[in-house]
Homo-oligomer: 150 residues x 2
């Protein structure tokens, strides 16, 4: 397990907010940019940083509807989990697949152009998935991502 140095925590927090920040800005006078650079590299090698990605604005791109689906499977053998996951992977509108333990078996983040587009996805793609039992839905109104603990 990685126990990040206090300086590393500052770096990780900064990169979480904006990954384009140069090492020089992250240093902010406290340290040399090369030192920060080395710390970032160490963190990446140690696996603390999983990936660097762009977050798209789906609404600006014409996908104004985001819905979270909670799925309960009707049949839960190992094969049915594999089948379900394989079939879900073929649906382009599904942005995230989470295998969970609790009220649901799977949670899906689904994006669509509008509600009627979402209905199409739900009827043709989701409800026809192998092994699907009950499906609950929540429509996203607003979302705030926060740094979380480090």
């Amino acid at each position: 397990m990685i126990r990040p140095h206090p300086l590393d925590r500052v770096i990780l927090r900064g990169l979480q907010e904006d990954a384009t920040q140069s090492a020089r800005k992250l240093a902010a006078g406290r340290l040399n940019s090369a030192a920060i650079q080395r710390r970032i590299q160490k963190l990446e090698e140690a696996g603390a940083i999983r990936s660097r990605r762009v977050i798209l604005d789906r609404e600006a791109l014409g996908f104004g509807v985001t819905v979270f689906l909670g799925v309960k499977l009707a049949t839960k053998g190992r094969v049915s989990l594999d089948d379900f996951e394989r079939a879900v992977a073929a649906i382009p509108e599904v942005q995230t697949v989470q295998h969970v333990l609790g009220v649901y078996d799977y949670r899906l983040r689904v994006v669509a152009r509008d509600l009627s587009d979402f209905e199409r996805v739900l009827r043709r793609r989701i409800m026809t998935l192998p092994g699907v039992g009950q499906v609950d839905a929540n429509v996203l109104l607003s979302e705030e991502r926060r740094p979380g603990p480090i």
Copy 2:
């Protein structure tokens, strides 16, 4: 609304997987790096790209437990929504706050070091939030993020 050029779709898809990719790699022989560069800048100005962030490996950092909470409020006036959101914002373990319409009123992504740490957060932090009614939980087993439609 932004209607991205086919080339832009390729670029956005690439940047979603790995935002460190240089324009040269994204071009991949098809185009000049400067052309890609300009397209990326246009996309950023148009608001297609919301932000660039690092995704941390919480497990590697000692936060092995991720739980999704579905929260139903007991009282749902405008004031209680504001109160709830303000109070939630003060909990460092809460990584995401989603205001939703459907089965729940709010969905929270909560990270903790282990299950007993999570119990502490749940009892001391979540259940004491103003206006909280019923709380459902799902423990994350595995997660797959996919590109989604563009």
